[in-house]
Subunit: 371 residues, 2 copies
DNA sequence: TCTCTTAAAACAATCGTTTGCGCAAAACGT
DNA sequence: ACGTTTTGCGCAAACGATTGTTTTAAGAGA
């Protein structure tokens, strides 16, 4: 074997002197390892590990050894290799975050809070952008598992649920954000979309509107379905018949908002109010209205979901239903760590965050109710 | 030892039948490992590894064994443990991404492209939000190293460079995005800020403006300094004296834009044009102008840096200097992988992406040049 | 002086992969 | 029938950290 004894005595004497061999150390290019510190200090890898993980007293390491090891570790800028650690401990201190589109301010906000919250727990996050593709979402989930993440925060693309069923058992802790599946018992955090939409609709009704169009987004996703439900509930509550031809659109995009609004203006000229279920739809609607020379709110009133930072600066400051995406990210992380830490089964339920109606200038009071 | 022979014959016979032992397998809760597959199939861990890494022919594994192993691996949904792999190979297929504020659409766009580009190389990204804090940035960099990332894309907070100096050698490949330090020889990708600002300023000049205020952002960061330089160059080129009292502001925030504009309107009533060096500043300026009942562009013209998606929908569609943040993210990743793959030293230079001036309606042509 | 306790630290196995080397059996040549 | 090559695959040592179990040395007691 190696003449460990030699190294041992040689280094232990020099290490007690105040002359650090930093010159020779600094030259080595790789990250220092326990083994390296062991060589330098003359004690075993085991001891180093125990000192550096705070188990010195539990294993009766002498004060002298402890301080010596600590000092050397600091000198060498030792940082434990998380790969090796994770392998041994089966704890990677990492979670996954899967987002349909990180460039969307709504999701970016969630991502930010999730990142920050995660760091507080000493964890890191691996980010995956699923590009609104279920296939990429599946791929991402697999990738995250191969990297041994301890949990994942997922904003699912939304329309297929099959690939998610396997996580119900709790094999890998997972929490859904924004979009979820009522029939799938996975924990989730979302906004109270029905209440939000209902409030927004009622605001329009209270201002004398009765012919209210609904510009919807991607169907069969929970946010869309619940918002439509809230819209209908408000109408029904105020004894206004639901007219299905006023519920149009099929995508959370600017383009969809534009096209549907154009069409609406032609086919339903008596519509004096629009409830937009997404900020991008609203942007499209604004473009269409401008083209058709309709003023907001004089000619037509709008209320939109989501409250992006520029809402107040639009041609007509927009009345919106704000979702607290920062809270959403925060709560999601909290829920996830509840699961990770108390490894007893998955939380079944979901959490619905309240929305807040922000009144600006895009709603006009109708003196004599139309229709 | 274990009676491997027994297992061997037992499993190899059943595995050739069409009856998969999936029932007993599916019940095990943990990820399958090479060892497990080895037990099930009766061949050694070594062989499995070789088959699954595509080295079958190189090591003369028989076709029969190969297909059997492949089949079993698929049945068990085997995914190699990236931790173990990374440890052994010293390749983690991971890069770090450090961003000052992921909720800022500009950075979110960069992050998206970086994520997507990275995935194309089969890599994942660990995301860190530095919250515009140098301390968090340092912490993040350390964390990423302990996780053995192979490189990092960094949007530095920007004002201190000391902690970055150690990366110059190329110990850990790194590329700077957006903000960089001319004196620090680290590769970077940024916009051609001086040219962009110059163009924008010249547009104003060509429209007859001579008293042009400059709403700047965080000083001593490269984007800000270069934009101011571009502004001055344009002025000088057209023989307009630079008036330092027209260069105001100190932060890339909405609030700064608001306050400085308010002040400006009071102290410099003859200013008829504003060059805003950041979209948030512009938003603040708009708010201030609205409060003071100044119309854009009738009373005052604005050109802003950055082209967020809503630019066209503002009260007055904004003329902007667009930076291609998607390209920025893309190029950054490309540069990083150049370094990672060809492990010969760091690229020294930087890349400046062209900006494009998008003309909308926020600039008014002055018939008789003021002043 | 010799045994027994206890303090202090080292051994060695382990986590899941990869890989240089080596070894058996089969195929081949004579 | 007996070397020799080829084929097919396994052994064991890494990678860097953690931890149950041992070992060593020193001090206490008789």
């Amino acid at each position: 074997m190696i003449n460990k004894k030699d190294i041992d005595s040689a280094t232990s004497t020099t290490s007690t002197t105040s002359q650090p061999h930093s010159s020779s150390l600094a030259s080595t290019n790789t990250q220092p390892t326990l083994k390296r510190i062991a060589h330098e200090s003359g004690v075993s890898v085991t001891t180093i590990s125990r000192v550096l993980t705070g188990q010195a007293s539990r294993y009766r390491i002498s004060k002298k050894t402890e301080t010596a090891v600590r000092k050397l570790a600091k000198e060498l800028d030792f940082v434990p290799n998380q790969l090796a650690r994770g392998l041994r401990l089966k704890k990677t201190l990492t979670i996954g975050l899967v987002i349909p589109d990180i460039s969307n301010p709504f999701f970016a906000g969630i991502a930010q809070q999730a990142t920050l919250g995660t760091r507080k727990h000493g964890y890191s996050v691996i980010l995956c952008d699923s590009q609104d593709s279920t296939e990429l979402e599946i791929q991402s989930l697999g990738l995250l598992q191969s990297r041994n993440v301890e949990g994942v925060v997922l904003c699912p693309v939304g329309q297929s649920t099959d690939h998610l069923a396997e996580y119900v058992g709790g094999r890998l802790p997972i929490v859904l954000v924004d979009r979820f599946y009522p029939e799938l018992p996975l924990p989730y955090v979302s906004s109270d979309n029905v209440s939000g939409a209902k409030q927004a609709t009622e605001l329009l009704i209270e201002n004398g509107h009765r012919r209210i169009a609904c510009l919807q987004g991607l169907r069969h996703t929970s946010p869309n379905e619940f918002r439509v439900r809230g819209y209908k509930e408000a109408l029904t509550k105020h004894h206004i018949p639901v007219d299905e031809t006023l519920i149009v659109g099929d995508s959370f995009t600017e383009q969809s908002g534009y096209i549907e609004t154009k069409l609406l203006l032609k086919t339903q000229p008596d519509v004096k109010a629009i409830l937009s279920l997404c900020n991008l739809n609203a942007l499209g609607a604004i473009r269409a209205l401008a083209e058709e020379k309709r003023n907001v709110p004089e000619d037509i009133s709008i209320v939109s979901f989501d409250d992006p930072p520029y809402s107040a600066y639009l041609a007509t400051p927009m009345t919106t239903v704000a979702q607290s995406y920062s809270e959403m990210g925060e709560v999601a992380v909290k829920l996830l760590f509840d699961q990770i830490q108390s490894s007893r089964g998955q939380t079944k339920g979901g959490i619905l965050l309240p929305t807040t109606l922000i009144k600006r200038k895009s709603v006009k009071r109708l003196e004599s109710p139309s229709n």
